[in-house]
Symmetry: C2
Subunit: 262 residues, 2 copies
C-alpha cells in the first residue's frame, strides 16, 4: 500500500467524517479528538466435557505474531457489532454451534498485551456439549481439545484468561446448574457425578450427591437406560428446561465451599 493510499485510508476519511460532525448543530465535535483509539478484540474460553474429562478448545494460530502457538479463539470486534455478537460470531466460526452458553468473563486491557499494537480483549467463556460439536467441527483452525491439566503454552495473557475462566466456572457451578450446559440432552447420574468430580478435582459421596441433585427438581427421569458402562445400566435423565430457566439465578448449593478453604 502506497503512502498516498494510506493517507486516504487512515487520515483523510476520518477527517472528513469529523468535519461532517462539526456543523453548527454539534458544537462539541472536537470533544474526543485528542483521545487515543485502540483495537478491541474478543477471546473465547471454550469448555467441553467428553464424558471423562473437562477440556478446553484451543486453536493453533496460522499467522503471525506467535504463529503456530496455541491460542484461544478470538477476533477483532467489527464496526457494526457489539462484543456479545462478536463472541457469538467467533464461536460459530470455530464450532459451527449457535445458541451455546456464553457469558462475559472479564476485560483485559493492560497497555501491552499484544506486541503489535494495543488491543483490549473482552473475554467470554462458553460451555458446549462436545458431542454436538464433533459433528460439525471444521479443522480449518487446527482446533484441538486439551484436558485442563495439560494446557500448552498460550500466547499473550491467554493463560491468565483460562485460569480466571476455570475459577469462575467452579464458582458459578457451585451455585447454579451451569454444568448441565456441558452435557448432552440425555445423561446419567454417574456421568453427572463424573463431571462435578472432574471440575472440582474432588470426589463426592454418591448418595449425598444424588440426594442433592434430585432435591433440585431439575431432572426428569427417562425410561431408557444407558448400558454402555455397566451391566445394570444407568437411567437417563433430561433437564427440565422450564424449571432450569426459571430458577437459574436462584442459589442451589451444589458445592458448599468450591475453593476448599477451610
Amino acid at each position: 500500500m502506497s503512502f498516498l493510499q494510506l493517507f486516504f485510508k487512515i487520515i483523510f476519511i476520518p477527517y472528513v467524517y469529523a468535519a461532517n460532525r462539526s456543523t453548527p448543530k454539534r458544537p462539541y465535535m472536537n470533544k474526543y479528538q485528542k483521545q487515543t483509539r485502540l483495537l478491541a478484540a474478543v477471546d473465547c474460553i471454550v469448555f467441553g466435557f467428553d464424558g471423562q474429562k473437562l477440556k478446553l478448545l484451543l486453536i493453533q494460530r496460522g499467522f503471525e505474531p506467535e504463529k503456530n502457538k496455541w491460542s484461544l479463539m478470538g477476533g477483532f470486534i467489527r464496526p457494526t457489532e457489539g462484543a456479545d455478537e462478536a463472541a457469538v460470531r467467533i464461536l460459530k466460526i470455530l464450532t459451527g454451534l449457535e445458541g451455546v452458553y456464553l457469558e462475559q468473563l472479564h476485560t483485559f486491557a493492560e497497555p501491552v498485551r499484544d506486541p503489535i499494537e494495543r488491543t483490549i480483549s473482552i473475554a467470554y467463556f462458553a460451555l458446549i456439549d462436545t458431542h454436538q460439536y464433533e459433528k460439525q467441527i471444521s479443522d480449518e483452525y487446527h482446533a484441538e481439545w486439551f484436558p485442563l491439566e495439560s494446557i500448552p503454552d498460550l500466547i499473550f495473557d491467554h493463560k491468565r484468561m483460562v485460569a480466571m475462566a476455570k475459577e469462575k466456572l467452579r464458582y458459578k457451578a457451585a451455585l447454579h446448574p451451569i454444568l448441565f450446559e456441558l452435557l448432552p440432552p440425555k445423561f446419567t447420574l454417574p456421568l453427572l457425578l463424573n463431571l462435578f468430580e472432574d471440575v472440582y478435582e474432588a470426589s463426592f459421596d454418591k448418595r449425598n450427591f444424588t440426594r442433592k441433585i434430585m432435591s433440585t427438581g431439575l431432572l426428569l427421569k427417562q425410561k431408557e437406560k444407558d448400558k454402555g458402562s455397566s451391566k445394570k445400566g444407568a437411567f437417563y435423565y433430561k433437564l427440565d428446561k422450564k424449571h432450569y430457566k426459571k430458577n437459574f439465578n436462584k442459589f442451589i448449593h451444589f458445592i458448599r465451599n468450591p475453593n476448599g478453604i477451610s
Copy 2:
C-alpha cells in the same frame, strides 16, 4: 488546529510508528492494519452508605454531549494505563480516595452507546465509606449522592450499568463480607443490620442475623458504645482485617436467596 497539524498528529506519527515495525524482523506489521480502532473508557458505579440509605454517587456533566445531565463518573483510558489503573485514577479524582474497593463489573460495547463516536466502556463498581469521602469531597464535578430508589435519568446506557451493579452487589454481598467496605472502621450491629436491610429491601430477624454475623468470626467487639441512637447504646465492632482478607473468597451465606425467587 490546522489541517497540517492534524496531518502530523493523526497520520504521520502512526505511520512512522508502523514503518518502524515493518523492518525485516517483523514481517507481519500490516497484520492489524485493516481493523477499526475505537475509544475505550471506564465508568465507575460508586456506592456509599450514609448510615440510613445505600446511595450512588453521580456527577452532573459539565460538557457536551448531554451537558447538565447526570452521569456516572468516567473517562477515557490513557495510552499508558490499563483499565484498572484508569478506574483508580478516576475514582481518586472524584472522591479523593485511594485504596477503595473496586471491581470490574462488565464491559459495555454496543456499537452506538455514545452518539459522538463508538466508545466501549469498561464499568467498575466501587464501595466507599461516605464518611471518609465527605472530608475530601471536591465540588468540582457537581457530584451528588442519590438514594437508589430515586436515581435521576442518566446518560447513554448508564442506567443499565447501575442496574447491573446493584444486582451484582446483592449477589456478592449474599456470599462475601463485601458490605463492610461501606462502613466506617467502627460500627454497630444495628447499623450493619440496617445496611443489609437496605441493600436487600427486606427485613431480617435481629437474633438470627446477629448469630450469623458473629459465627463468621469477622467482628471484634470493642469496649466503647455508640450512644447516638439509643439510651442503652450499642457496642462498636471492628473488622478483623486479617480474617477478612484471608477468608474473603470463602462462601459465607449471609443471605440465602438474595433475589427472593422461591
